[in-house]
Subunit: 226 residues, 2 copies
DNA sequence: TCAATCAACTTTGTATACAATCGATAGGCG
DNA sequence: CGCCTATCGATTGTATACAAAGTTGATTGA
């Protein structure tokens, strides 16, 4: 039985985050069924907040609710995953294009800081540390776009792809390559070269969707990580 | 008291659509409060499906749920609206870029058909007819992208902007200009000129967010339409 | 008279009870 | 023996009841 933090004062929201994490870490693999009463027992709450959390997850596209049948973790096929990364790449490209001409000096500094944090996280060798530093790096670009709606969309999609991006980091040399791509992005942004920044960032994202030989290979180990 | 179609077998989903429409048509203006018991009475259901529908709406960004305070129709300010149209423009540009090299002959034909329908709808003079024909035109482009995830995202955002796009059509000469832009898009797609198609479509969307003198002026009449 | 505090009411959040629908299994029919 | 059908069980969907939090108003004190 798991207890859930009440920071939000709404149990459903906390439940959603807990379930998100469980799905991302593979505790509930794609295609598996999320039984309401089982979940209610596990979290020691009634079915009501569980249902509300499941609805939020279905709106986020993480699960599919089939009426009168149950909710299942969506099995995102490889082709669809590629599609999602393509859209993600375009959103991030748009962010950095805007960021190039809109970032304040402080925001540029924050971007450099985030990049530095990525470098040191990579040196520690902990994939999880690098993962979070990487998220902060991209977040800095979202903020720099000065388009809050775009930033929200980018965050939402990044969240949906979280589990798969995490796996990507276990591909050979991925962290090292990711770092050099980040450096190129920072350089282009500081130089105000929107077109170059856009292209580098786009391929920085796309590469995760394209190199699927490595990806699928790493996917076999995915379940054990959780 | 309003009854709600049971086509989905899930009341909550039907309720969501009904509320979406009510928000879009201005029955519930931005900032207004959506009381659960009032809604439950209106639709002759209990609070449970109402709550579930409201959660779906909040996930879609249409309303904001403030814990223990209530749910309010989000007041989308003009600046945020511009941001949303910018993202919409980019999504559609991506769609048409992909569509240029992926559309089948049948899909190209469907696009031309949709454009023709727009022309005849414009001649009838009914703004609503043109609105729907216009939606089908853009839908043809989404489908033509052959990226189903992108298409879903585009549809979702188009839906969120529905109310405002509808108003745009009441701006002077907007329909006429819209038609000629559509023609240019069709020409570029058939010619396989991705870059040109992308640029035309992008500005076709952006113009709705940019010409806000007209837009705000028309906004005054918005509430009376619903 | 104004401000602060407290209490009652209103509304949301959660739990439980009831209804409806789906799936599986067993029995009958071809 | 196989397939179709009906009934039973399990699970979701909805309603209602209860709990907790917030807001509003009045009352009391300065």
């Amino acid at each position: 039985m798991t207890t859930v933090g009440k920071s939000h004062s709404r149990t459903a929201q906390a439940l959603r985050e807990a379930l998100e994490d469980d799905i991302a870490t593979g505790r509930y693999p794609p295609g598996s069924r999320l039984d309401e009463v089982t979940l209610a027992n596990r979290f020691a709450v009634s079915r009501t907040p569980i249902r509300e959390a499941l609805i939020e997850l279905s709106m986020a596209g993480l699960v599919e609710i089939r009426p009168h049948r149950g909710t299942f973790v969506r099995d995102i096929g490889i082709p669809r995953l590629v599609e999602m990364f393509q859209v993600m790449a375009e959103l991030e490209a748009m962010c950095v294009r805007l960021a190039c001409r809109r970032m304040t000096a402080e925001e540029q500094h924050a971007l450099q800081e985030a990049h530095a944090a990525c470098v040191s996280a990579a040196e520690t060798g902990s994939p999880d540390n690098y993962f979070h530093a990487n998220e902060r790096f991209h977040e800095a670009i979202y903020v720099g776009s000065h388009n809050s709606f775009l930033a929200e969309q980018a965050r939402a999609l990044q969240n949906r792809l979280k589990a798969y991006r995490r796996l990507q980091l276990r591909v050979r040399n991925r962290v090292r390559n990711s770092l050099s791509e980040h450096q190129a992005i920072v350089d282009a942004v500081l130089a105000g070269d929107a077109e170059r920044a856009e292209n580098v960032l786009r391929s920085h994202i796309l590469i995760q969707g394209e190199r699927f030989n490595d990806f699928v290979a790493s996917l076999g180990d995915a379940r054990k990580i959780g």
